[in-house]
């Protein structure tokens, strides 16, 4: 690990004042320290935000929840309101990582989790995300866990998260404090960036901008589900995952929110897929049509070609369960 300056922030305002080249916030640290040990991340300054007063979950006037950025994954998954009204979020959190990691990993940190692309992690390999302009060893390499949607000629990495997938299905808003002291609200739909030719830029956060909260609107109507398909039954990243909230009224699909993990460089959502379902009676044929629309532009890289039919089957199975 490279040496760094350690600063302990006493308030969010205090934290953002350390902005500068090479400063990073640290909260749970479960991803950042892993990457620092491998010298994939080499911050010059670590700003410890773990003791800030951002660890509460509050009810909002709108009937939703305001989740502090430092709420650990375990506590968010176990919160009575989340379990009762945002089951998809509880389920997504519980499908991720291990008990130990969920106790440490935070809500804000989880949104910023880095890819587990083998070539990002191996510093002997070319990676445009790790070293901009160095190339992409993943393309033409071993791609089993990599993306089939939203890729570019510069990067085919997947976003590894589960929680953010549920949050995309739930239309979450990310609340931040900027270095200049201004607050900002960013829809999760605008938060992540496609790789294009700058895969090292993963979100729209400005340098030094601190996530302070995640706000959830009231839950959409209907059943909720998080279905995760992975290489082992526990403690593994998703090959494909589906976060879904679907309501059926009088035998007709009245609303649908669907987001996907394991497919792209960001938690994936495609509202045209949802639009296809609305106003129709649930059927496997309809679900297959929705899956085909989702995957119309999907591009396999060889070892991950299987993700395309796997996603179709996973979506059909999820929609069956959501509309049963």
């Amino acid at each position: 690990m490279k040496s760094f300056v350690y600063e302990k922030a006493t308030s969010p305002q205090d934290a953002v004042r350390f902005v500068g080249n090479g400063a990073k916030f640290i909260a749970g640290g479960t991803n950042l320290l892993d990457l620092m040990k491998l010298q994939i991340e080499t911050p010059e300054t670590l700003v410890d935000i773990s003791r800030l007063n951002l660890d509460r979950i509050e009810d909002t006037d709108a009937g939703g929840l305001l989740i502090g950025a430092l709420v650990p994954n375990s506590d968010l998954a176990a919160d009575a309101r989340v379990r009762e009204r945002y089951e998809v979020l509880s389920r997504a959190l519980l499908a991720g990582a291990s008990g130990q990691l969920r106790n440490k990993a935070t809500t804000g940190g989880n949104l910023l989790q880095r890819t587990r692309c083998y070539y990002f992690y191996d510093t002997a390999m070319a990676c445009n995300k790790r070293v901009p302009g160095s190339g992409c060893s993943a393309i033409g390499g071993y791609t089993r866990i990599l993306a089939v949607l939203g890729t570019s000629a510069a990067c085919i990495a997947t976003h590894p998260g589960d929680m953010p997938v549920a949050m995309r299905a739930l239309d979450a808003t990310i609340v931040t404090l900027k270095a200049d002291g201004d607050r900002r609200r960013i829809s999760i739909h605008d938060f992540y960036r496609l790789p294009g030719d700058t895969p090292h830029i993963e979100t729209g956060l400005e340098p030094g901008e601190l996530i302070t909260h995640v706000e959830l609107p009231p839950p959409p109507p209907g059943r909720q589900l998080y279905r995760k398909v992975r290489d082992r039954a526990s403690y593994a990243f998703a090959l494909v995952s589906v976060a879904g909230v679907v309501s059926v009224e009088n035998g007709i699909i009245a609303s649908a929110c669907l987001a996907f993990g394991g497919l792209g460089p960001m938690p994936w959502r495609d509202t045209s897929v949802e639009a296809l379902l609305l106003g129709h009676a649930p059927s496997d044929a309809l679900f297959a049509q929705a899956a085909d629309a989702l995957l119309a532009s999907a591009k396999g890289q060889g070892a991950n070609d299987f993700k395309i039919p796997l996603t179709k089957r996973t979506l059909i199975a999820s929609l069956r369960e959501l509309t049963a």
Binding site: I26, L33, D48, Q100
Partner: protein, 165 residues
């Protein structure tokens, strides 16, 4: 820096880069917590911070000043074993023993989570949680045993959970 570990106050000077695990093992000679992968994948370094289980390898010592830290050395002693330590012995819940301190600390934290009614990935309902073997396996999936003593580990934990219930 000062730390309360197993009820004892320690005063040490540490580099910013020192993990909680290295603080324990290399600076304080508390070598019960083990270093397996050093990347949060194996669980051998599991300890309890303020009663919650975490991977000590993925945590900086400087971030844990004033926290109440419990390691395997603080759970029991050879003369007075913690119930989980005794259960691991009676059920032969190990072969080489390297993962065992992490398994036991993790199980202590896990049973506490269960007491609080936390659900898991395999819980059919998020409201009511029952402990069964599937739940134990899921909740302990952050602790790898290369000798694959899993059946006996599950037996040991089930016994202790039943006694506590």
């Amino acid at each position: 820096m000062h730390f309360t570990i197993n009820g004892t106050l320690y005063q040490v000077e540490v580099d910013n880069r020192v993990s909680l695990l290295d603080l324990l093992r290399e600076h304080l000679a508390l070598t019960g917590s083990k270093k397996g992968c050093d990347h949060g994948q194996c669980g051998a370094c599991t300890i309890l911070i303020n009663g919650r289980r975490i991977n000590s390898c993925l945590s900086l010592a400087v971030m844990h000043q004033d926290d109440d830290i419990t390691t395997i050395e603080g759970l029991g002693s050879p003369e007075d074993l913690h119930p989980l330590q005794a259960a691991f012995v009676s059920h032969d819940g190990y072969q080489c023993g390297y993962c065992t301190p992490g398994q036991i600390c993790s199980a202590v934290g896990m049973l506490d989570e269960l007491k609080k009614g936390w659900p898991s990935h395999v819980s059919p309902s998020l409201r009511d949680v029952d402990l069964n073997d599937d739940e134990i396996s899921e909740r302990m999936s952050g602790n790898i045993c290369r000798c694959s003593a899993y059946p006996n580990i599950v037996d040991a934990i089930r016994d202790v959970a039943a006694a506590q219930a």
